[in-house]
């Protein structure tokens, strides 16, 4: 970059480009200060940091299929309201903390679906006042269960359509494979829901397996999924998606997930949280508790 060149001219140093890197602890405090969170599943280190920092009464807008990141927040008592599209572990079964909290009514659920979350997030991201969609919702019980779905007339055809409201967030949590210190982030094998979530949020935190130089970002610009101007803070968090799978990095840790399910089944969630969240000084400590050998065994086939 030429800025270093101009710096050699003598006299006052020119202004420098500022790094956006913050610590995981600072990120946690930011999460704890938020009301509404747009969360991507894999941002597990950020979720743990938010729990440690005392996040409370959160409204969570997860990705359209979510699992542990949201379930752990619920298990730790951080969640007041959840926009639901899908939360569960597919072939492994229900999300235990969510199921219990929803049945006991200790969280409130906005009965949404994929289109509601994707399009509502799009509206918040793009300044659309709302998103009209054809009346297919009428074929289901969703309009009865979700009072946020309103009707509006199509001014061109006079037909009745449904309107989905914008879903803005205070903070957005995203995990990346690579990110430079200015926030340009690469999410490999992602589905780019991240960019709408980022644009819909006031403060965007990207955790990343690896912080790379901006020159490396420029090398393969087609892989940059989130441009840095959308990002407010970058956190270095290797293994930051554990125990979830992270493309080209590590497999899902099914043994650890089983321990989580078992903790729920045996009423020992507090023990799990103490051992793997509250009790951890930092994420290095977390990985040591999970076991370095265990984590290394996941680094294949992915």
């Amino acid at each position: 970059m030429a800025s270093s060149d101009s710096a050699t001219q003598g006299g006052d140093l020119p202004p420098q480009r500022k790094s956006k890197e913050i610590s995981l602890r600072q990120a946690g405090e930011r999460i704890a200060a938020a009301k509404t969170v747009h969360a991507m599943n894999s941002a597990m280190a950020l979720v743990r940091a938010g729990i440690r920092a005392g996040a409370k009464n959160l409204t969570v807008i997860p990705q359209v299929t979510s699992n542990l990141s949201v379930d752990l927040l619920i298990a730790a008592g951080c969640v007041e309201k959840l926009y639901i599209s899908y939360i569960g572990f597919e072939t492994y079964g229900f999300a235990p903390a969510f199921r219990r909290a929803a049945e006991e009514k200790s969280i409130s659920v906005v009965e949404s679906d994929e289109a509601f979350i994707v399009l509502g997030t799009r509206a918040a991201a793009s300044g659309m006042p709302y998103v009209p969609i054809r009346r297919i919702y009428e074929a289901t019980d969703l309009p009865r269960l979700n009072p946020l779905l309103k009707k509006v007339l199509d001014p061109f055809t006079g037909e009745e359509t449904y309107a989905i409201p914008p879903l803005p967030g205070d903070v957005c949590l995203i995990h990346a494979q690579e990110c430079d210190e200015f926030g340009n982030a690469q999410i490999w094998s992602g589905n780019q829901q991240e960019i709408d979530k980022a644009m819909a949020s006031k403060f965007v935190i990207v955790s990343t397996e690896r912080i790379v130089s901006v020159d490396r970002t420029r090398e393969n610009v087609d892989k940059v999924t989130i441009p840095g101007y959308l990002v407010h803070a970058v956190v270095h968090a290797p293994f930051g998606a554990h125990p979830l799978v992270w493309a080209r990095h590590y497999e899902s840790d099914t043994a650890h997930l089983k321990a989580y399910f078992d903790a729920h089944a045996q009423g020992k969630v507090a023990d799990y949280l103490e051992k793997f969240v509250y009790g951890c000084k930092d994420e290095a400590d977390y990985i040591e508790r999970v076991g370095v050998r265990q984590v290394m065994s996941l680094m294949r086939n992915v």
Binding site: E90, V118, I136, T140, L142, L145
Partner: protein
């Protein structure tokens, strides 16, 4: 207590049979775009097998991985598995996925499931019991609302019992034929044909043409019509002379276990009856 589904023979597991039968019925979809969502291990195998046999021009969207037309030899457990994106020809960002479905006519077919399905093919992912006091809170609707409303689709279930196949679902999260007859067409586009087939570890079902009631199409090897009726929670149309689902041919089976599921995930895939 539910028991594991009979594996049919020593040669193949019931999950493998389901994948093979699904693949054959994708022949009519050749040349169109469709896809699979969460927990779609069996449909993923089926789509790949169809492409290698009867439907080489299928375009398919592999759920959470965002991959279009991935090619894998190690069958992923879920569409979110990064392995489910290898060898892809393109990627579909999330928003395009909703676009594809909502636009109508572009999305040709999909594989959906649910906690409950009723005699008109309506599915429930929301919960069991009154909404104010759910006995079981379900995982949520995901994309089944648009994929069921806007296209033809296939249903599949890992379990076959009267609690899953019911007379009337507690909530409709994705529309089948609603109250039967032409009630579906009151809301959905005529081109969006709704549920075509229903796969379970026990049988394959479809829907009667006019009434759109659930109908037995073939019984999987190892079971009888009576077994099916006993384990089904709604009235089932039984056509005369309903036969068995055809077993995998040698070619189908060899392609499945060498080119799609080399780790033999489907061999011990957990399914249940009753």
């Amino acid at each position: 207590m539910a028991k594991p589904a009979d594996t049919g023979t020593d040669r193949y597991s019931m999950a493998e049979l389901m994948a093979v039968e699904m693949s054959r019925n994708l022949a009519v979809d050749d040349g169109t775009l469709g896809g699979v969502g969460g927990g779609a291990t069996i449909p993923m195998a089926a789509v790949r097998l169809a492409i290698l046999t009867v439907a080489p021009n299928l375009w398919w969207f592999c759920g959470g991985s965002a991959a279009i037309n991935p090619v894998f030899t190690e069958l992923p457990l879920t569409a979110h598995d990064p392995r489910a994106s290898v060898g892809a020809e393109a990627r579909a960002p999330m928003q395009r996925t909703v676009d594809m479905g909502m636009r109508g006519s572009l999305w040709g077919w999909g594989f959906n499931g649910g906690m409950q399905v009723d005699k008109y093919g309506n599915c429930n992912m929301i919960g069991i019991g009154p909404y104010e006091k759910l006995k079981v809170r379900g995982p949520g609707t995901v994309g089944t609302l648009w994929s069921a409303s806007m296209s033809k689709y296939y249903l599949y279930f890992w379990h076959h019992n009267p609690k899953i196949i019911v007379d009337k679902v507690d909530f409709i999260s994705s529309p089948g034929f609603l109250d039967g007859g032409d009630s579906r067409s009151r809301v959905c586009l005529p081109s969006a044909k709704g549920p075509a087939l229903v796969y379970t570890p026990m049988c394959v079902m479809d829907f009667e043409e006019v009434t759109h009631r659930l109908r037995l199409r073939s019984v999987n090897p190892g079971y009888t019509v009576d077994d099916v009726v006993k384990n089904t929670g709604c009235e089932l149309v039984i056509p005369p002379g309903v036969g068995h689902t055809a077993e995998p041919t040698d070619l189908e089976y060899r392609l499945l276990i060498t080119q799609i599921d080399s780790r033999r995930v489907l061999r011990n895939y957990r399914l249940s009856i009753g």
